[in-house]
């Protein structure tokens, strides 16, 4: 599938933002993270900026961005519509929670509950994003149970790294931030490897034989057009296996290995160095996750390519 930058940026940025909102409210509810107004201001600005920039970016690839509001109407059947509804619904509790955190002394049970509702809606939005892809039977690399797990774990991982950097920047150190980040990275790495193993070892349900219904060895003699058509440009994107293997290694190194090491190093360093290393971990992980998401599209093969000479999809 054609890796469109707007969608790669949207899914990674909003995933990190929703992960941060979720962890801010969980850590605050667990009284691990003090409800420091300045930390809240920085945290929610980062989270909302990531979410909002992602959502806006996702509308850029539309043919008619001015009609994007219509996408909220078909939540009964469409995961894309559900994603739109939940992403907007999340703003309400998350916004109230952020205002309460930053500008008021409101710290009761209702405050914590508002935060938890924001966390649940955040994760629900991430799930909807994943299900847009996981519900497409036409793409074997997406239509499997690993996809929502990958989206959840990477959202929490990037959120945890952001939280760890944020807390360190404000001089708050707690084993919970460190361990959440470290465990989230390891879990995300294992999940992503399992995902890659799954798509490498299982064939898609469709073949050139089922696509055409013809019996025998089928090869494309003539394409319908002399030039590439929309389907080939959008669905026919192919990445060489050796390039994909290199990029996977890069995604693992930048997305998982480096952040684990940097976070460990930060945990052993004096506060100022710790904050700098934690921020560096976020930036390196961002590169890794962007490569991971680029591969998620570039490696996905669409069933329609079977009509254009692909031997598997």
């Amino acid at each position: 599938m054609h890796p469109a930058f707007s969608v790669i940026f949207f899914t990674t940025a909003s995933g990190a933002g929703y992960g941060l909102v979720t962890l801010l409210s969980i850590m605050q509810a667990g009284r691990v993270l003090p409800a420091d107004p300045m930390l809240g201001l920085a945290g929610f600005i980062i989270a909302f900026a990531l979410i909002t920039a992602g959502l806006l970016s996702s509308t850029f690839h539309l043919g008619h961005p001015e009609r994007a509001w219509r996408a909220l109407s078909q939540w009964r059947s469409s995961w894309l519509s559900r994603e739109g509804v939940f992403s907007i619904a999340t703003y309400l509790p998350a916004g109230i929670y952020a205002i309460g955190w930053i500008f008021t002394d409101w710290r009761g049970g209702l405050f914590t509950l508002t935060g938890m509702i924001a966390a649940i809606l955040s994760m629900q939005t991430v799930y909807c994003t994943a299900m847009i892809y996981a519900s497409l039977k036409t793409i074997h690399a997406w239509s499997n149970r690993w996809v929502p797990i990958v989206y959840f774990s990477l959202s929490i991982m990037t959120g945890a790294l952001l939280l760890n950097a944020l807390a360190a920047a404000f001089g708050y150190f707690h084993a919970a931030f460190f361990w959440t980040a470290e465990i989230a990275i390891v879990v995300a790495a294992i999940v992503k490897m399992q995902y890659w193993r799954y798509i490498d070892t299982t064939p898609g349900p469709s073949t050139a034989e089922t696509a055409t219904g013809l019996k025998g060895k089928i090869s494309l003699l003539e394409s319908p057009h002399t030039q590439e058509n929309y389907l080939q440009k959008e669905m026919g994107y192919r990445i060489a296996r050796k390039h994909a293997a290199k990029l996977r290694q890069l995604a693992i190194a930048a997305g998982f290995v480096a952040p684990v090491l940097l976070t460990t190093l930060a945990n052993m360093s004096p506060p100022a160095t710790a904050a700098a290393l934690a921020v560096l971990a976020v930036l390196v992980a961002a590169i890794g996750v962007l490569i991971e998401r680029w591969l998620f599209f570039a490696e996905a093969k669409h069933a329609v390519t079977l009509y254009y000479g692909a031997t598997s999809a």
Binding site: M1, H61, L62, G63, H64, P65, R67, A68, R70, A71, L72, S73, Q74, R76, S77, S78, W79, L80, S81, G84, I132, S135, L136, K137, T138, I139, P205, S206, T210, A211, T212, G213, L214, K215, G216, K217, I218, S219, L220, L221, E222, S223, P224, H225, T226, Q227, E228, N229, Y230, L231, E234, M235, H302, A303, V304, Y307, Y308
Partner: protein, 249 residues
Amino acid sequence: MTSLPERQPETKLGLVIDLDICVGCHACAVNCKEWNTGGHSAPLTDYDPYGADPSGVWFNRIHSFEVAGENGDNRTVHFPKSCLHCDDAPCVTVCPTGASYKREEDGIVLVNADTCIGCKLCSWACPYGAREYDQDEGVMKKCTLCVDKIYNENLDVESRVPACVSTCPAGARHFGNLGDPSSDVSLLVAARGGYDLMPEQGCKPTNKYLPPRPRKTGPGATGAPHALTPQVADGGGAFLRWIDKVLSR
């Protein structure tokens, strides 16, 4: 409303395509383009039509496949493909705006160009490549089964069939109600073993394909050999070698 109709339409208009007859002339694709560029989803935009890299919106495409069968039974199969107007059309249910819909009265799948946001998700959901993105208009387009032709009372009755069907010079395309088991198209499908494309995708397409008829495997009544045996290169003697040389010039 992008949920599918609650009850399956009783009338299921669709096409039956005979792969035994299609000669791969692309006339159906050309006439499709001609009719539809002035029809319901007009225009069928072309990009760089007279330049070095022309492309554009097409609702109908003809692929040509080489099929290597057993015992050297190889053949070329021309394979026209357009929207199959599926019963369980995933392009309809994924649509976030309700622009994509399946008609209850005849099962035709259409796009409302006034509410389509051009997110392309329907083209990702369709395994058959029936969806087209018009980058000039920013909306998705697709085969309408010539909805503006088949019900058009200004046309002669015999012209009220999709453009691809009326133009096919070989008679490889049939149009009718596949929801009625006693219709001509349903009988044809039953008689010839018509099948669905990619049944494993679960879309339950309305359009059916008729397989190429089995070829005679024996040498036939003429006594001719099944395949010619290669001539020995050096077997002709000097005169024939000279003839070969002269003719090969």
